[in-house]
Symmetry: C2
Subunit: 432 residues, 2 copies
């Protein structure tokens, strides 16, 4: 690996060695994300393929095999192709991932995702022979999609660079929102084709709509400008108003007059169109993520080379108490965290090893501060998921009910959802 | 490195490969702490040596060179010896640390510590020639000690195993408390030898006492039973009551009758004795940390080997949807997170790859939950330090005043110190 520092035999390592090693550590993290980016991209594509396959499967099973037989087979083929690309991307980073393991969770997430993918052939055989309920097929695909998204989530947690972490947080929330949109498509399709929504279906739909909005809110607060603009134009699409009208039909609990079954096809088409457009936003985030990684990696590599030159020029002279003057970045650049950008031009002020150390300490501190909001967003998501599982387990209720209960608790106590979730999780031992 | 998995050429990695890699990742983290333990131990020893050197230096400078000239030279020699051992420990882990860099912060912390140590010879020369104020010498030593403790702090942040993280949190807080005790010794020595305490000295002493107590509270809540018992017997030592009486003399602001200068020697001896006993508690924590690392590493290695055997016995048969039955740990062990302990005895129930994956997911989840309190304690400490720096910077006040202001804010708002600190840090941009 080109960025790895050669160990120096048995010589006692110096302050300068560790300063360089500290920067190399950042560089290695960036290099790893350059590679992980390809995996994330292939997951985004594969998830989209699986969502299409799930949609076609639902129509196929819901129509007792009369509709979408050929379409479904085409989606299966496409998923297989995308699955192959995912495995290929994984093979390319395998050595990096397992020789410098970054996170047990990420690796375990990949294991679960691969295991889930290995269950696809028997699932499809059951679908083909119509030996499966629509709900069970939806459930199986949804679980698999969830496992794939979890990989991106775990990858986001390993990011050290704030701008890269932020984009991955945006990505995870967009993928989650899109998946909830896919599940809403399934519930709506079931209701519209039956001609009416059960109470449970209406409630589920409201839950999915609300959960989607929360995902998109987080997405918007972390994403780059270009992708945000794409998102806004998606929102402005006339399709969205039509979806809203259909949603109101489905969610009006207590209505008993039956709906036009023709609406089912329209709903499916609208929601599929929405998901395709969400995918283009996802691609834009992915593109931005990739160029950010390339950019940050190049900056970090240049800056590292620059530091090495500086430190070499300090030589052994720095062991004394007096700062040794050398050419270096201007103080302003260091203060604003732009030191990575320095290319040796415009250097005006002298600098000692002590100053370089101070600068790195400040930089790491600043990165940590900036990273906090991204980490918090991930933490909130994880805490809420834990709280929901806890409630499901403890009260014997389903996922939606647990979400509703959590929201009710927050409302009743006048607290944030996250606070309530956190309190619940911290009480886990007592509740058992 | 014995625990590293060999990459498998270009074969597509399987779910089982990543499950194994996930466990290997945990194992590597444990192995790294086996090695880091030696560095932590050498830091604990070196810090104690530097604190003695600082104490002797203060008496030497405070008595205009009349007292402790020989004692001081002896402490210098001892510090040099301990410094050599620290560098040796570092040399042993250097390859590991820089080839698999764990944290930029830790590496940067080591750089700062080594740089600080390189400044010792000129500092000592100034002391020798009495060209330095007592306060400035204390300040220089304290900064260096702080840098050394920061390394342990950063190491604690990289721990993945909850029991190991908890002991490191205990260690860091004990080291910090002991260092505050050392600073209190210095302030008290200055006050008692002058015969009276200035208002600022009294305030500083109160601050140091309060801050020590907070450190020890956290220490007690994370430490092992044996070390806690040692700590309790330290508290029960009659010396503590005598220190308390002298503290009250020093802290009674507004008193103007002068103190018996003889008290200075007594105070110094008492506090030095206290620090030596704190060091024995530190050694106990260190010993417990080491045996915990050895134990957890052995468990993890056995469990990994066991999993590998299990997975090999699953072979290619597991690709179907039906669980393939194999001999494995009992379900109860998996649920209680004891799966690492399994040695193949008492296995009764069949298990598929899916079950192994679920088990690993649960284990990682549980570790994450257990890790939270340790991470929170570190986070609180970091946030408070940030808030204090922010206040110092923004209001132009010194460290103690900033601590006081922070406590006052918390009291006025009826909030926890951490909440106020967090609010301040999140407002940093606005305050600038």
């Amino acid at each position: 690996m080109s960025t790895r520092k050669q160990p120096q035999g048995n010589a006692t390592p110096s302050a300068a060695d560790y300063l360089i090693a500290s920067r190399q550590c950042e560089l290695m993290n960036l290099q790893y994300f350059l590679q992980m980016g390809k995996v994330v991209q292939s997951i985004s594509n594969l998830v989209h393929g699986l969502q299409r396959e799930r949609g076609a499967t639902n129509v196929f099973l819901g129509s007792a095999g009369e509709k979408f037989a050929a379409e479904r087979r085409a989606t299966v083929q496409e998923s297989d192709r995308l699955c192959g690309l995912f495995e290929q991307a994984l093979t390319e980073v395998h050595e990096e991932l397992t020789a410098h393991p970054v996170s047990s969770r990420l690796l375990n997430g990949l294991a679960s995702a691969l295991h889930g993918l290995a269950q696809l052939p028997p699932l499809r055989a059951s679908v083909e022979s119509q030996a499966l309920l629509v709900e069970d097929a939806t459930e199986a695909y949804s679980r698999l999609v969830h496992e794939m998204i979890t990989v991106v989530f775990e990858a986001a947690e390993t990011a050290v660079d704030p701008s890269i972490a932020g984009l991955l947080v945006a990505m995870v929330h967009l993928m989650n929102g899109k998946e909830l949109c896919g599940q809403e498509r399934a519930v709506g399709s079931a209701g519209f084709s039956r001609g009416c929504f059960s109470n449970a279906q209406s409630k589920r739909m409201m839950h999915l709509i609300e959960a989607q909005e929360r995902c998109f809110e987080v997405f918007v607060s972390f994403v780059d400008d270009h992708s945000r603009a794409l998102w806004q134009s998606l929102r402005a699409n006339p399709r969205e108003a039509e979806i809203e009208r259909l949603r109101q039909l489905g969610c009006s609990v207590g209505r008993y007059k039956s709906l036009d079954p023709e609406l089912a096809d329209r709903w499916f088409a609208l929601m599929s169109d929405r998901m395709d457009e969400l995918k283009t936003v996802e691609d834009s985030v992915e593109g931005c993520f990739h160029s950010r990684c390339v950019e940050r990696f190049a900056e970090a590599r240049n800056s590292l080379a620059h530091q090495e030159t500086l430190i070499a020029s300090l030589g052994a002279e720095d062991s004394g108490p007096q700062p040794v003057l050398v050419l270096c970045d201007s103080g302003e650049e260091a203060r604003t965290g732009k030191a990575w950008d320095s290319d040796g031009v415009g250097e005006r002020f002298g600098r000692s090893l002590f100053d370089l150390l101070q600068e790195q300490t400040r930089r790491l501190q600043q990165m940590d501060d900036e990273l906090r909001s991204a980490r918090d967003a991930l933490e909130e998501r994880r805490t809420q998921e834990k709280a929901v599982l806890l409630l499901m387990d403890h009260r014997g209720i389903d996922n939606d009910e647990a979400h509703r209960l959590l929201r009710k608790l927050a409302m009743d106590q006048g607290k944030k959802l996250t606070e309530v979730a956190r309190a619940l999780v911290s009480m886990a031992d007592v509740l058992k």
